[in-house]
Assembly symmetry: none
Homo-oligomer: 456 residues x 2
Amino acid sequence: MDTAIERYVDERREQYLEELRSWIAIPSVSADPAHAADVHRCCERLVQRMEEIGFSARVLPTGGNPLAYGEWLGAPGKPTILIYGHYDVQPADPIELWESPPFEGTVRDGKIYGRGSVDDKGQVLMHFAALEAHLRTRGRLPVNVRIIVEGEEEIGSPNFEAALERYRDLFAADVAIISDTAVFAEDVPSLTTSVRGLVNWEIAVHGPSADTHSGYYGGILRNPIEALARIIASLKDADDRVAVPGFYDGVAELDAAQAAELRALPFDEGTEAAQLGVPALAGERGRLPLERMWFRPTLECNGIWGGYQGPGSKTIIPSWAKAKLSARLVGTQDPERVRALVTEYIKRIAPAGVRVEVQDGGLTRAVVMSRDHAAVGAASRAMQAGFGKAPVYIGTGGSIGPVASFDRILGLPQVMIGVGLPDDQIHAPNEKFNLAQLFGGIATMCVLYDELAAIG
Amino acid sequence: MDTAIERYVDERREQYLEELRSWIAIPSVSADPAHAADVHRCCERLVQRMEEIGFSARVLPTGGNPLAYGEWLGAPGKPTILIYGHYDVQPADPIELWESPPFEGTVRDGKIYGRGSVDDKGQVLMHFAALEAHLRTRGRLPVNVRIIVEGEEEIGSPNFEAALERYRDLFAADVAIISDTAVFAEDVPSLTTSVRGLVNWEIAVHGPSADTHSGYYGGILRNPIEALARIIASLKDADDRVAVPGFYDGVAELDAAQAAELRALPFDEGTEAAQLGVPALAGERGRLPLERMWFRPTLECNGIWGGYQGPGSKTIIPSWAKAKLSARLVGTQDPERVRALVTEYIKRIAPAGVRVEVQDGGLTRAVVMSRDHAAVGAASRAMQAGFGKAPVYIGTGGSIGPVASFDRILGLPQVMIGVGLPDDQIHAPNEKFNLAQLFGGIATMCVLYDELAAIG
């Protein structure tokens, strides 16, 4: 790393923490309308900060919460990178489980605790710090940079694609850099090269027009709960493989090298099961656990309800039963096709004697980034510089709407270079960001821009 | 019928409705601890009313909700009858489906609507009205009468057998008269000669210790809802026959005469399906509908819940899922054995990766009453007087715990003489009692006591 830049960031660690504290102090909870003013204040704060660094920045209105946008385009002939992060945060509840106030930013044992500390304010700050270090020590950046910090990631980015269309010119770039993911483990720097897609359904099984007496009618009615249970039980076969014909179209098998890579990662089934509180892990037979989490699609029931749920017993055949389903997609699975296949399958296997309705929603494609892309190589070298060790390549089982949108709308190659840890408690009480990861992340980004300039 | 008695009850129809309204207004829901005070208030109200009629009455404590007990023993040398009913009611939810408030008692189109209107407050009232009419017009009853009105019938009468043992002397009688059943159809007076038994279970399937992110963990966890669905789906085979080994032990096949009797009853599958609001009837393959309702056991899911049930989607693998099950028993099926068989079966088929708990309750035997008993003949004549037509003999798919207890503890012959209609929506929203059935029932009971005196 450039020693002047290295010295610059090393001398300012307290200052970075002070700044992150001030960001955490703005409770920019996008899910809660009561925090609308905080959301806007946070966006304005980031715009102001980008201007201080030397960017041309502004608040970009959307159909929902605004985007904080900044650009520095003073490197003609060099690549343009688009840095993405989000300034909105999850709600803090249950508040009583926090050991220090969620909206303060408290440092304990080498970690800064607070809502948004790592998801995603702290990871946005890594870029701001690295960009400022470049500009203050050299007077310029090695690449052209656009920054887009979103305000609705935690509520599913409902206005993000429309904003990408609306401001398409502002987002013209050669590669997107996304810092909103985690590494595999504390000592395992990682680059995420795949995210899963997402489709949702809600099934309603309608039986008798009202709840009926299970004594009088037990024997002549199809019980809607039982019908729904049969449908759900029929979604997978005895090997826990999804039984919907065509569901796996577009899902590639791991090759030997990929399988070996997964086996080499430190993952202990017993430890994982104990941490999750289950007697044993489960899932599709004959597949590695990390394969099942990252490279295989899933079909899960997220909720079910129907009939009597109160204390004691109520002997009815209920009028209806409902369930929510969602699938995580991988590879080139087509969300619209999967949506239709599952819907048709459910209707086809529905037992006689009831009426079945299926509503669907959510259409997020999986995204797979080739590690052969020069930008991924650049990110790998940057991470090695920042953490002293070459990163491994991992997937994530989650779905990141903006990643799918960059892919679909802008057709951008993407580098997912996040430095959170799996135990950071994102979306939960006591969210934290290890300072070693934060400072390693700043060092990584300082190198990343130079590396990306070199591939131009 | 005695014309003085006939005139007495005919003149008091409005008064009976007023009284029934006041009983319905006490929400004596035994399943809900929040209504404990209402349950006690209802019991006291009935005791007070029996005293007004001329009975010696009192509240009899039990291990749970008390019994309302009354006796009039002024007919030496005559038979003693034990009249049974219950003052507790089912919960009213879903409240929003009621067209008039469940705890008011609203008369519309010749029916009184309200929770407990027919099950069983209205049918208890038939006896109170008939007994009062006898006492006010003749100054005496033709038989000795004990009345027992229970407060836990809707939760499976958990303390009734112990109370029968404890107060055995108070219940000494020659025959039990139970008015908690329905006739076959509006124009088909009926006497019920068999009731099904009942066993309950609650299944809890425990997965991860907290709700988990379905992206990060989807693929390595057994989803508790899915596990529960598999369990429920495995309870029956493709012919809708219960798959639990040994479940059908003690279930007799119909003989040709019984089958012919069932076929002779007016029952149209299409009409029944349309009334219930289902596309078609369902149930065990190769059996008559009335056979399935009265003479075959069932295993039903009465409720299910787990995971996210709100608007939109929440992509979790839930920590747990639960369901309530109940079985209706027939013939000589042993409730304790069935309870154990189903519990063992559920635990045996539970998928790996989750922990399954089964709680059970309710142990009611099926009861079959001989139609050759003189009391059944007396009831038949009373019903003919009350409704102008000789009754048919039917079964009921419901379970009346006390009927089983009278059989087992007191060894009493029993007459099930109820006048509800199949469409009375008991246990459901908009429960009602047709006024023609109520008043026909009062007339029937006025005759019944004289007929029973004659067989003594």
